[in-house]
Symmetry: C2
Subunit: 327 residues, 2 copies
């Protein structure tokens, strides 16, 4: 069967090394016969791993990219200066080649945002947003836009984020009219900083959106909205404070299990770990770019790569692009 969908995968940047990324790519190929991949990174290392793992070389292309953008690099200058890095090569391939439908990387987030602006923001030069989809308390999913791509936002940008999130949840989660919430420090429309108050008024008047009003931090993940609109600074807090609090409480549960020697509590700890491992839930999606780009968490493993590949396949099959209001 011919491979119809090609994804470019940056093999560098993962905490666990390039091996988990290559492994994940090969697992994804085995799972999806319509898939082929372009891997950027150390060519000889990738070839070696692919041979070891009995990979189908017919569906693997390798672009040699010995350089790596690390977390110590300045994001913007790295994109311009490290032109032979695995991330820049991947972005360049995605931008230039029609046969590639999406990109996965676990590298430097800031560089990825800067690179997305450089290679994929098209003529509209929309400010990108990094959307994270998290499980809400009621079993639904909440898409937080933005979680850190654009930290200084105007009201117009936040409205754009609302539209991007709206389209994303409609297309990918089949929600007819996603409920759009606006993160604020109070439920009333009068609450918020200056930009949030201005955004509230704009969203309220936007008849193409199902705006449900302000959402406070304690209800951010209760399922009150499908899309939670916020600037990248505040959204980053929602994401990371949730993550930190979940980790802390799970530690408490394990500590209590140890103290009491109770096996059921140990099981509860495992159960919570599965539920609240927010970092393993696939990746963060860059909205506002011309082609699907997904950022895997730095601590991702092969399973993450498989699930993110599936997500991009899904986007490609749906011809889903979350670029602007109309496209």
């Amino acid at each position: 069967m011919e491979s119809k969908y090609k994804i470019v995968i940056d093999t560098k940047g993962a905490d666990k090394g390039a091996e988990v990324i290559v492994k994940g790519a090969i697992m994804a190929l085995k799972e999806h016969s319509s898939l082929s991949v372009v891997l950027t990174g150390d060519k000889s290392f990738i070839e070696e791993k692919c041979t070891e793992l009995n990979a189908d070389f017919e569906r693997i292309e390798i672009i040699d990219a010995p350089e790596e953008i690390t977390n110590y690099d300045n994001p913007v200058s790295a994109i311009f200066e490290k032109s032979s890095s695995s991330m820049v090569k991947a972005l360049d391939a995605l931008a230039k080649r029609d046969d590639i439908c999406g990109l996965i990387t676990s590298g430097n987030t800031g560089a990825l945002i800067a690179g997305s602006i450089r290679f994929l923001s098209g003529k509209d030069r929309i400010r990108p947003a990094l959307a994270a989809v998290l499980p809400a308390e009621d079993g639904s999913f909440t898409c937080i836009v933005d979680t850190g791509a654009t930290v200084d936002c105007s009201a117009a940008m936040l409205v754009q984020f609302a539209h991007l999130g709206n389209k994303f949840m409609r297309t990918m989660y089949a929600i007819d009219t996603p409920r759009i919430g606006l993160l604020s420090n109070g439920a009333e429309p009068t609450k918020g900083n200056a930009v949030v108050k201005e955004t509230h008024a704009l969203l309220k008047d936007d008849t193409s959106l199902n705006f449900v009003g302000n959402i406070e931090g304690n209800r951010a993940l209760c399922g009150d909205c499908d899309v939670l609109v916020c600037d990248g600074f505040a959204g980053n807090q929602v994401l990371k404070v949730s993550e930190g609090m979940a980790k802390r409480m799970i530690k408490d549960v394990f500590k209590y299990a140890k103290q009491t020697g109770n096996q059921e509590i140990l099981k509860l700890g495992q159960h919570l770990l599965g539920m609240y491992d927010l970092t393993s839930l696939g990746g963060a999606i860059i909205l506002g770019v011309e082609k699907p780009v997904i950022k895997a968490h730095g601590c991702c493993d092969e399973i993450s790569v498989v699930s993110i590949s599936k997500m991009i396949l899904n986007m490609a099959q749906n011809k889903a692009v979350f670029y602007n209001k109309n496209n």
Copy 2:
């Protein structure tokens, strides 16, 4: 024994009604012989409750204030228009009378901030901050400044918050050189929105502070700093997202306890409830005002009133005022 310290307590605004506030005030009087109180609210109701509870009327003064500022009122206009409300009467008494050393209220936070600016900001007209002290993972305490009083902040305001928090933790928690952290979306100095980056540079150069750098949301409550500086919008997210996540996970634990019928898990749930009931930990302190003002949570009970009274007593005994850098 003569009562040396007088606190004015607004009896209106609590979710559980004025009764819990009056009860709490009477309990505090019984606990601290050096204390006397001024209660603002419905005079006849307060008198009735005090009689019922065998209160020591010699240490209770009542200021009749039939009006109430509710959460539906516009904070700023309420302070100017509802001049016979229990909150305005309390603020007015605190500002005008030398014999009153502090104020407790559980009423409308926005109105309290507006009222503090009107009655207690002195000639310097410093922007107030609402500080919340939360237990950190390592057993220490973290003072978050601001959690919602001032949502649009300049770098100069954030530096002022750092000094207010610094003085507060030094005086009230006996920490010689409190570690000052700056909330950001990344640990590196280059991370943050424009104001945060500017603040980072100012704090770094301020030799009178022990600045430990940026703190990310997931480490906000890990004990990496004693004072976490942030604007009121972001700080509100840290506070409320933590609260929401803790509530959610405790619910999960109780659900699991019910499913398994395991008594130890039920106990664990109670244990966590005690540890993470962030709302019952006293109140939020207004910094940047001339006299101690503490906001009790809307859902406070008599115990909260007792513990907040103790806190104000402590501040009064230490002559602690957190008004500006020098005072």
